[in-house]
């Protein structure tokens, strides 16, 4: 399955532009929102190059810091995430070279993680990593199955198919406000079940 950006690119353009604009005006908090938004996707991209989990985190962090420093050069000619992924790719390659390891010969497709030679690079194949991934996916499947159909349909059309709220409203023959509410409730339901598995620092601190 293709990765997120090709499905979300149209939807995410406006908010990314707004956040980048704020960062460029000196708002570091806006950059934090970009990090929170893209860290999983950048982490996944980096994991195509580097198997070790802690190294993936380090390189992901480095990629974001480099992106922050390079933001003065970002003119919006391309979407923010493609620009960011390019930086992440180069950071991962440079990391491998510096560590005396050989980076892949061909580039990684930033949208699918596949190389030009038609194979995917190694991700986190550690037993712990696989178990954690499987558990999260199992909980998501279970939560989606147990969810009322109208919520599941709205969320999956949004996340899997990349439909806009307008399009979903048309398909589901309901007002756009209803779509907004259904997607939110579906997320809340999923979030509640996944919280023990993917809790963030702020939640941990707040609890």
């Amino acid at each position: 399955m293709a990765d997120a950006p090709n499905q979300r690119s149209n939807n995410s353009a406006n908010i990314d532009v707004e956040l980048v604009r704020r960062v460029q005006q000196g708002d570091k908090g806006a950059f934090d929102l970009l990090v929170r938004k893209y860290q999983q996707r950048v982490g996944k991209l980096v994991s195509r190059f580097i198997a070790d989990r802690s190294e993936v985190e380090d390189v992901t962090q480095e990629a974001f810091i480099k992106a922050y420093r390079a933001l003065p050069n970002f003119r919006g000619d391309s979407a923010f995430y493609t620009w960011l992924y390019r930086i992440a790719t180069n950071t991962a390659k440079n990391y491998l070279v510096a560590a005396g390891r050989r980076p892949p010969r061909s580039d990684v497709d930033i949208t699918t993680g596949a190389t030009e030679q038609g194979f995917e690079l190694e991700g986190d194949q550690s037993p712990e990593g696989e178990m954690a991934s499987e558990e999260i996916h199992r909980v998501i499947r279970q939560a989606l199955e147990q969810m009322p159909e109208e919520l599941r349909l709205a969320l999956t059309m949004c996340e899997f198919d990349g439909f806009s709220y307008d399009e979903i409203a048309e398909v589901m023959e309901c007002p756009i406000g209803t779509v907004r509410s259904r997607i939110f409730r579906a997320r809340q339901s999923l979030d509640k079940k996944l919280r023990p598995l993917i809790s963030t620092n702020e939640v941990e601190e707040a609890v």
Binding site: G26, R36, I140, F184, A206
Partner: protein
Amino acid sequence: MKKARLEQVSSLVDDEQGGSGKSVVDDLLKDAESRDAWQRYHELGDWMRNMADGGMVRVDVADRVSAAIESEPTLLFPVNHRQAPVNRPSRRGWSQQLAGIGIAAAVATVTVLLFQQQEFLEVEPDVGVVAINETTPAGKEEAVLSSASLAKVDSSEEDELLSGELFQQKLDAYLASHVKQSAGYRAQGLLPNIRAVDHGGTGKGN
């Protein structure tokens, strides 16, 4: 209230807030719970979309990056996005122009002062070195020496300095001396783009 706020965050995750969602972004920046929801809703979507290939590695570097960029200089520069609104005749334009003029004036002042000091050096090298290399405020002795040496530069010599080949030589000597001294004073880059230009038609420089 909280539910409505989180629903807005959910819409913003899909960029369906209308406009650019500026007010929701403001809330996000202020409210930790909204920020957390923003991160989690994005992550939920990432996990859902990666169910088929299963190759996702969970990372959480937001706090680390945030701490790291805290020590970075704040970015402040004109916005030039193609997608961003173009018509923005604001105070930023004026402030930038004023800042630019200020910087140019400061550089010009430093240049003139250094150049004058360089002339002084050429006339009385020994005394001049003492004056230039003295980083602490000059004492009475240096002050006396400086005024004495300055007095030796009479008006006819000044005229010569400002004209023709002698001017060019002085300028070249000044630039060479500046590069040497700026290295010693960690002031590299003070005049990074100076080129010696010959206005007298001697063919030298440029």
